[in-house]
């Protein structure tokens, strides 16, 4: 009779699964298998068997485990795949080196890598896997506990049919009986196997613990060749409880080995043997607590089950963990850290033990994390490095990680301190990063300028020129374009920054088509860039692109671009950008006249943007929301949103429409026209056209004249706006109708409707009632799409002589239910004047009282809100 030990419990009941995985590997259509199941069900064991099978078919294999502690330093979980000498500062070269190594190893067959608990894998490791999978040189067998999240690279492969998902349930009763018979080496009494089945419910880990427990405490014995129970099984403790009880019963030397493994696994057999007698290891192996994985030339010892690691880590006092880790660090350094991935493991252990490690290594690890857009980890590692003293690169990494997480004030603190630190290789980049954070993050362009002056030594550097131009362009696009020049720099990252600045300034200056080209080019180049210091994320280029497309009237493209940008920003967790794209989508919806949709997008944007700092995106988000509400007539005079910043030009639009919403239409027009004039003076022609056109829509008499003078803004939308102004000046109904058609073709429905209403009015006045009716009808159809918009331009006077602007204001307020007294107060006129206006309005509209007037006014504006009708 074979002695009953727990060594190498036989593999029962899962051969079908091994076959499926092997088929997947052979078939070549799949490149990953995910084994999903609850803890203790046998996922790791299955992965091991699959690896053995693959190895027997000539594949090279390796088995790694992601653990919560190994995730402290990126890539340390994949240490067995990494070159011994590696350059962490150049992730791309590193990835490439791993790829080449795998190719050499694999000799034509895919390398098979098993990854336990893949959900715990750090982002950089995931990025490396993705890289290798895309290359076709790797086949991954991943295990995943039920209810954890699969990394996107595997999830998307599974969705697209390139990965197989195998769900592991607990073993069936027959399999448990067979397993017991094999493992114990003899028949098991019906009562004993029933009790073990009942308790374990087919969870293999639990079954093993129960059997081991029973053997040790003498409840499970072999008499006359048959295994029986002498009493009830150990009371119904859960598996975790059983495990920790068992670990408790070990002698100190055994326990020390297990604890070390729990912190640092896998460890090489030779390392362990240096300080542990072989019989201790043999005993632990015999008890099924540790196992040796043969991985090519390397022999690694691991704990048999992750649950053991968890229980051990949990029970370990902090100080004990610290001293074990440090002792291990000392040993590995003692023999020169020669194995693959050793430097990373050292950093990881040090960090776990002391909260810090070799600063050079930490900075490199932080760069790696930044490369994979793992911002929280970048932050942690860079912070740890800075605890050793000032380090320009570490500050840069930390500052940028904070900036991209939209923590602008914290970023400023870090960057300000570091830029004060004087010269150094990073000094220049720190200055750039800080200026950009001040400008984009804190909305403080003046401080950004002052900061940039600190880098006057690098005056000719394209990156500096780019930032300088960006700041200059806020008040003078002409000067900014002059700074930039037309010659694209030849090298990155200066070029990428230059392209972004240029696109931004061009877009502001009205050269929208040129801006779109520059932004597209910038995006393409930016995407190829591995080095993302200072230049941030490629999606920043898409913000500008969206803007340039929208202002040209290319609305569908603008939407598509904004969605793409949003997707990228969310995928990489770039919070500084996440809010910018909903705001852009809101602006497109506004341009279309979809006021409800716009409101939703702006609210979403604000939810993302509110936080530290006051980035320009926040101002434009608030502005957009105010405009959307004003157009729907849903803005109350005391709305807290109306605390819009005073000085800023982009907020002028919000201020103007807010005035209009409270009945001060004339002032609104003046405000918008004045802001438009200011924008012209600064060369911000795109904004100027938009503002002047808004003023025109509010009936401001001078706006049309100013608007036709602003030529040079590229794109169909600006052309239509100018044509509209021209038609108003000439009082030409046909020209108005034509302009309306252009707006409609662009999808700018609300403005098209307003222009049609004006055309109808003119037709009626010039005695062409039939055309008037046609235009009015068309307008009504378009308004249907505008989700309840009720702008002044939509108000149709029913009488023959059109209402004056003032009369329209009064009429609208009456329709809102305002008393004459309140209207008088709103408009700063006397009650008597209000009543005079009212009489005139009644006559012109052919109504007798307020409620009839409200009904008449309501027909134009009160359209039910409809679902977003994107085209």
């Amino acid at each position: 009779m074979a002695t009953a030990t727990a060594i190498g419990w036989p593999f029962v009941g899962r051969h079908g699964e091994v076959e499926r995985v092997s088929d997947a590997l052979d078939g070549g259509l799949l490149d990953a298998v995910v084994l999903t199941g609850s803890s203790g069900v046998g996922k790791t064991r299955l992965a091991q068997e699959c690896l053995a099978e693959a190895e027997s078919r000539g594949h090279r294999v390796a088995h790694v485990a992601a653990t919560a502690s190994a995730s402290a330093v990126p890539l340390s979980a994949l240490a067995p795949l990494l070159p011994v000498q590696m350059d962490l500062t150049d992730p791309h070269a590193l990835f490439e080196a791993v790829r080449r190594w795998l190719h050499e190893q694999a000799s034509g067959r895919r390398f098979v890598l098993a990854v336990d608990d893949v959900d715990l894998l750090d982002t950089v490791s995931v990025a490396l896997l993705q890289f290798l999978l895309a290359d076709g040189s790797l086949f991954v067998i991943a295990t995943q506990r039920t209810d954890t999240r699969l990394p996107d690279v595997l999830e998307s492969r599974w969705r697209s049919g390139r990965a197989l998902r195998v769900r592991l349930d607990s073993l069936e009763k027959q399999s448990v009986e067979t397993l017991l018979h094999f493992a114990l080496g003899g028949p098991v009494s019906t009562a004993a196997s029933e009790a073990l089945w009942q308790a374990s419910r087919g969870n293999v880990l639990y079954l093993r613990e129960l059997v081991g427990c029973g053997q040790r405490d003498g409840t499970l014995v072999c008499a006359d060749g048959v295994w029986r129970l002498t009493g009830p099984l150990t009371d119904s403790a859960g598996v975790v409880e059983l495990v920790s009880r068992r670990l408790h019963g070990l002698d100190p030397q055994q326990r020390a080995v297990l604890e070390l493994l729990a912190l640092c696994e896998p460890l090489a057999v030779d390392d362990l043997l240096r300080h542990t007698p072989v019989d201790v290891l043999a005993e632990l192996e015999a008890q099924g607590l540790i196992q040796v994985r043969l991985d090519g030339r390397r022999q690694d010892v691991t704990l048999t089950h992750p649950l053991h690691a968890e229980a051990l880590q949990h029970a370990m006092p902090r100080l004990r963990a610290r001293s074990l880790l440090l002792a291990q660090v000392e040993r590995v350094e003692g023999y020169g850290a020669r194995r693959r991935g050793d430097p990373l493991m050292l950093a990881s252990w040090r960090l776990d033990a002391t909260g810090t490690a070799d600063p050079t290594l930490l900075v490199r690890a932080a760069s790696l994390a930044r490369f994979a857009h793992d911002l929280p980890r970048t932050e942690r590692l860079a912070e740890a490095a800075l605890r050793h003293g000032p380090d320009g690169l570490a500050s840069l990494l930390l500052g940028e990680a904070l900036h991209e997480q939209a923590r602008y004030a914290e970023a400023e603190q870090v960057l300000a301190e570091a830029t004060g630190g004087g010269a150094g290789p990073e000094a220049f980049r720190l200055v750039l990063a800080r200026s950009l954070n001040l400008h984009h993050g804190l909305g403080d362009t003046r401080a950004a300028r002052e900061c940039l002056a600190g880098a006057d030594g690098e005056a000719g550097d394209p990156a500096r020129v780019a930032v300088d131009a960006l700041l200059t362009g806020v008040t003078d696009t002409g000067a900014a374009l002059e700074l930039l020049g037309d010659a694209e720099p030849g090298t990155d990252p200066g070029r990428v920054l230059w392209l972004r600045s240029r696109a931004t300034v061009l877009a502001d200056a009205g050269r929208l088509a040129d801006a779109a080209v520059a932004a597209e080019r910038g995006f393409a180049r930016h995407r190829q860039l591995d080095y993302r210091m200072v230049v941030s994320h490629p999606a920043t280029q898409l913000v500008v692109l969206t803007e340039a497309l929208r202002e040209q009237g290319r609305l569908a493209e603008a939407e598509e671009t904004a969605r793409e940008g949003f997707r990228l920003a969310v995928a990489d967790g770039i919070h500084s950008l996440i809010g910018a794209f909903p705001a852009q989508l809101g602006l497109v919806a506004l341009t279309r006249g979809r006021v409800g949709t716009a409101e939703r997008y702006f609210r979403e944007a604000l939810a993302h943007l509110r936080g530290g700092g006051r980035p320009p995106a926040l101002v434009s988000g608030v502005t957009g929301l105010v405009v959307a509400l004003a157009w729907r007539g849903a803005l109350a005079a005391d709305d807290p949103l109306l605390t819009l910043p005073d000085g800023e030009l982009i907020a002028a639009r919000g201020r103007g429409w807010a005035l209009c919403a409270v009945g001060r239409q004339r002032e609104a027009g003046q405000e918008l026209r004045a802001a438009g004039g200011l924008a012209v003076g600064q060369g911000r022609l795109t904004l100027a056209v938009e503002l002047l056109h808004d003023a025109l829509r509010l009936g401001d008499p001078a706006a049309a004249r100013e608007l036709v003078g602003v030529t040079g803004v590229q794109g169909d939308l600006a052309a239509a706006r100018l044509a509209h102004a021209d038609a108003v000046l000439r009082r030409d109904p046909d020209a108005l109708a034509a302009a309306a058609r252009t707006f409609e073709q662009l999808g700018v429905d609300l403005v098209a409707a307003e222009v049609l209403v004006a055309a109808a009015e003119l037709y009626r006045a010039t005695g062409t009632p039939r055309s008037a009716t046609a235009c009015a009808n068309q307008a009504a159809t378009l308004v249907q799409r505008c989700e309840g918009a009720r702008t002044p331009g939509l108000v149709t006077p029913v009488g023959h002589s059109p209402l004056t602007a003032r009369e329209r204001e009064v009429a609208l307020l009456v329709a809102e239910g305002y008393s004459s007294k309140r209207i008088a107060a709103e408009l700063f006129i006397s009650v008597r004047t209000v009543d005079n206006h009212l009489q005139s309005i009644y006559t012109k509209c052919g109504v007798k009282n307020r409620s009839e007037l409200a009904a008449v006014m309501g027909t134009a504006g009160a359209v039910p809100v409809r679902e977003d009708e994107r085209t």
Partner: protein, 144 residues
């Protein structure tokens, strides 16, 4: 398996004795009737094959009480079978048909307990066969 089941199977093998050949004949008839495509896998002489199968089945279930010998034998046989291209699904097919054949041949003697016992015995054989030959020579790394 429980000791009772081991005994039941052993006794039934003994009782069947020479009738085992007929069982094997009937079993293979059913196998090929159910899945004619399997015929192609058996290149050698079928009469001999049926005899070998019957002998082996008898020998191997009788070996169950000596678990070491049983495992060695079954795993070797299984390793050869993986060479024949036998897959896990085939083992299931064989089990169902073998139990059906026994039921038909034994009539009233095929009790519920006997059926369960044979089911377990077949599982023992099949699982051991699917394990194949051990990949490493010893189960322990450190005591080798």
């Amino acid at each position: 398996m429980s000791p009772e089941q081991v005994a039941l199977v052993r006794d039934s093998v003994r009782a069947m004795g020479p009738r085992m050949d007929a069982v094997a004949d009937e079993f293979y008839r059913r196998v090929f009737a159910r899945d004619p495509s399997l015929r192609a896998m058996f290149a050698g002489d079928l009469v001999t094959q049926r005899r070998k199968f019957a002998d082996e089945l008898q020998a191997i279930v009788t070996a169950i009480p000596d678990i070491g010998a049983f495992l060695d034998r079954a795993r070797l046989l299984g390793a050869r079978h993986s060479g024949y291209g036998v897959r896990t699904g085939h083992y299931r097919q064989f089990r169902d048909l073998l139990l059906e054949t026994f039921a038909a041949e034994l009539g009233d003697a095929w009790t519920e307990e006997l059926a369960v016992a044979w089911h377990r015995a077949y599982d023992m054989v099949a699982e051991a066969m699917m394990m194949g030959v051990p990949r490493s020579t010893g189960a322990s790394f450190f005591t080798r």
